[in-house]
Subunit: 344 residues, 4 copies
């Protein structure tokens, strides 16, 4: 059994890790930390966990965490970089669901996150956590900076097009829609039911922290700097990301895009290329680790429209982290991730 | 492996059976029927099942169904009674999620369902499917009429109070709230998003088909005819039932109600008595087979208020049916039912 | 033109006053206060008001408020009682949408609100603001404590039954359902979209601040102390209250309840008794000042079920306050309150 | 008083016309037709209208309609073209909220609507109903084909950019999000609450009927054929359209886009250009006839992102139709359209 520690267990990605690990046959949560909830059983905070977990929040303690095989950070940015160095040194594998180890350009990171990075050396060693992109690197990694929620949906959607160099890498437009759980569990007026339901709005159009991460990822795939416009929108729902991805084909009469996508993802356990003509719904992945994708070339013209949906808390966060843990510990990749999405 | 057949697989209780059985370690769906969708893979209709089931809808055929160990009817009333007799005769165990075998008084059934019952003899043999009430009878049954969704939430909430004869059985008021999935997947104006979201209404206050079923159940528990007012309400959400149950204590200073409930349900795998003072949320059971209950005696007066929540499609329908199958085939009662509710 | 001041304009009842007064032909908002938003135009905070109001929040200032004809307090409890005495003394009429002047028994108020009342004498002079109950008193009042949202829905539903002494006043059960806007605009985890949507729960079953207010009102109507159980529930929607009201007829074969209700409310501009057999939906009053009511006697037994719906922010708060202002200033009672509810 | 007839009064645009006209000071609904609901008072179908309208549905009858000054068609395509010719001939002004008179190219219309057009001559005479584009033509028109919901939001967003020829007209991408009321009130599985809430999906990406209408409109504005990709998405909410509009500046350092938009719409009563940096929410126009727009140039690069929101049932349908009626009858343009959007 893999011994698991979780730092920051009170947020939505923390409770989602607990949900997924509750039925994981080869892993067991040994430590879960929260400064504010010390001594409280996790099931008191999240009654869905009653009968599934009987552990209690403790204050973060490196010694206790160091007794684990792997530690997940389900924390705001800035926390993982303060504790990861010691854990890595003591041989614990670290999976950060936050943003501290995603961006290789330290200056860029510091600009967008408005914070001094405290362990730039470790960033260089960290592996970006997106299995469909770099599964082999992940297997041997000591430290993972998991892909963000929007970045996962966007990169999986553009991957076959950019790898194959079929589209103009300078004209990418990602119009993304996310449920409110992406904003986390913090009390804030903007995500009150009365403010965010029965309405739709864009936000962060002038610039969003996931922009440099996506740009870095897509540029790596395209092997040259991409031009990207990224517009996130808040949806009146809890879970789900829908990325609508536009790009321009270099040659509109060339390729069989459906076959391209099917081929690229044939062996991926968590990417499902839908039949031609489909429009995936976010609810078809609600609670599951799947990404469902369809590809369109409307009216046979030169614009490709890729539709890519994930559950932001699963494939966009905690499920992806468990998938990565499975890879790191040589467990079956699907372990603990067999949940069927809830429909209706 | 238990070989499973499902009649009526296109509705919400049908797809929910498929979701639950996808990960059931000792059962496999062999046949699923739908007249309208013959030849269509179930995953084409419900994309959440892609990768989990690759079977195809067939027209209902008694011979094919008779090759199963158990057949679930996830059909409107009137269907099960037309096919169950032959299946039972051929040794197949039958679990009806509908209403055909729930009510023992045939005349009463015919009045509320406005239909001639075609196999009253079988009704007499059928066992009412509510494990917390009659687990032993269920184990040996050939034919089960599963408890309805409202009846499950209401009976589990009143059970300890009526068994112990602590409350006035003539003055029961069940104010119940259900998500829209209780109305099924049929196209109807009343449950369009535009009609049923952002609004609350009562319905069926003058009389609802679950009234005689609940009354029969509670009268059995109380060992005398109860007086019951039952008011269902439509909630602007997909899943969940919240029953708010009022009754009058014969002696307000007597009993420790919290202990009474905890004791009664101590060994029940799917009933969770919440700590004193709790208010269970329907989302704490979303997608899971749990019923969570709390009991209140406001201001120390003589009215008891029990709050009982279930997921109407799981403990109120398909999960309960799987729990019953487990009992009938001597499998672990929790098999296939370990899902943790989705929060948030 | 009636000159209007509003204290506490940033909450939901404040913005709702602004919405209603925007089109009021005989009133104009002259002052609106908010400590935190001083100097900010109201339309910056609430873009729906762009083009309708161009006034700016100011810090509360008694002199400026004293230049108004009427001042609304759309504030948490405790604020109005600190400013009302001086305003009343200076001849300004005061309408408090909060709870400071609703409860006559000061000790009781202090117990439930956990605060020392600073002007008990004024409570004695204040008139309870529920026009259907005491229109004439309101007309001449200097100070109004407006009925709360739940209390409005509950009292309007029970009024004809208790006035006519047809029901047992000792056995009243009010099962109430409210949209999340009743909790106000403060940032809190419990009313985040991710916590409160797709779920239903009761709260405050052991005791809620509206209980003593409702009990006082119903006891006044019944002319004797009533016995009341009050269970509020949080609904996954923004606006609306649905009160389901149970009581026991002294004589089940006696009265024509439909006629009783129609007669009682025949001349009320904002109470609509629905046709017999109806189930009013909260959306039928969304954004409007109407209360819609229907009355049932299920199965002809002795329990009466009254269904009463309002928009908690309109008839349950700001609309009622405007109706009261109209009465106080001898304006047509419907002025500014002609909005048709939004369906769908 | 303008005498108004409405053909097809049972759908969402019909009831919305009734809501808006209920408080219109210079118009009165004299006739409302519905084959299926003949003899039923409109308030029986839409209880929000109780107390506001006491007319009754009648079967469509040209003579009765011909006695009106103006007839609105709130009908599916194909209905207006069958009745409009006679009405126009008899001097009645006709405002079609449907699609029969929007597209000038009859062949194109017949292809997308899969129907033979029965009065192509009238199409030539019809005026496209979008006041911000062609107010003067509307004033004198006999027959109006009102702009569709998506086309209104998209054209108002692109108008200043295309008129000024600042952007590449060949690379327009309109990513649009609509509430479910856009699908109408017909019973259909796809817009059940259980199917459409808590989920987001695109639809019609290969081709949607509003595509040729938008393309015709934008090409007219640009004075050359535009290249347009149009992706509609279904939102889990009732009302609202959010259009996110992408285009490429010919010269990224040139123009002050904020000033361009403010100048263009300075005198428009129903277009509100938000302050620079804003992200309009659909709820800020819920129930009102406003279109709110903001314009962004992310990171100072060459892509312009315009955000344009309307209420699809008001500015996208019935409100626009009333605005057009006001223009045709020389009434104040805002008459009957002063509603403030409902927030929250």
């Amino acid at each position: 059994m893999v011994k698991v520690g979780i730092v920051g267990g009170t947020g939505y990605t923390g409770v989602e890790l607990l949900r997924l690990l509750a039925n994981h046959p080869q892993a067991r949560v040994e430590v879960i930390t929260s400064r504010s909830e010390e001594g409280i059983p996790v099931a008191d905070m999240y009654p869905n966990l009653r009968g599934h977990h009987d552990i209690t929040f403790t204050v973060p303690d490196v010694d206790r965490l160091a007794a684990c095989d792997v530690v997940f950070f389900a924390t705001p940015h800035g926390v993982a970089m303060s504790m990861a160095p010691e854990l890595v040194e003591r041989g614990v594998r670290v999976i950060d669901l936050g943003a501290d180890f995603r961006i290789k350009d330290i200056e860029l990171w510091e600009k967008w996150y408005n914070l001094k990075h405290t362990c730039p050396d470790l960033v260089a060693k960290a592996v970006y956590g997106l299995p469909e992109l770099n599964r082999d690197q992940i297997k041997g990694a000591e430290l993972i900076g998991c892909a963000g929620c929007y970045p996962t949906a966007v990169q999986l959607g553009y991957l076959p097009l950019l790898e194959s160099k079929l589209v103009d890498h300078r004209r990418l437009i990602a119009d993304c829609k996310s449920g409110a759980s992406g904003a986390g569990r913090g009390a804030s007026v903007g995500t009150l039911l009365c403010e965010a339901s029965e309405s739709v709005k864009a936000y962060g159009v002038p610039g969003h922290r996931h922009l440099p991460e996506i740009r870095q990822g897509l540029s790596g795939i395209a092997e040259r700097p991409v031009g990207l416009t990224f517009s996130p929108h808040l949806m009146p729902m809890i879970r789900g990301i829908h990325a609508t991805l536009y790009s321009v084909l270099k040659d509109p009469v060339g390729p069989d895009l459906q076959a391209l996508f099917e081929e690229r993802y044939r062996n991926e356990p968590f990417v499902d290329v839908m039949p031609a003509g489909s429009h995936p719904e976010t609810r078809s992945v609600k609670g599951s680790n799947m990404c469902r994708i369809s590809v369109h070339q409307p009216q046979g013209e030169d614009v490709v429209v890729v539709l890519s949906v994930i559950d932001n808390l699963v494939k966009g966060a905690s499920g992806q982290a468990v998938q990565i843990m499975n890879l790191m510990f040589d467990l079956p990749e699907r372990s603990g991730l067999e949940q069927v999405a809830l429909m209706p």
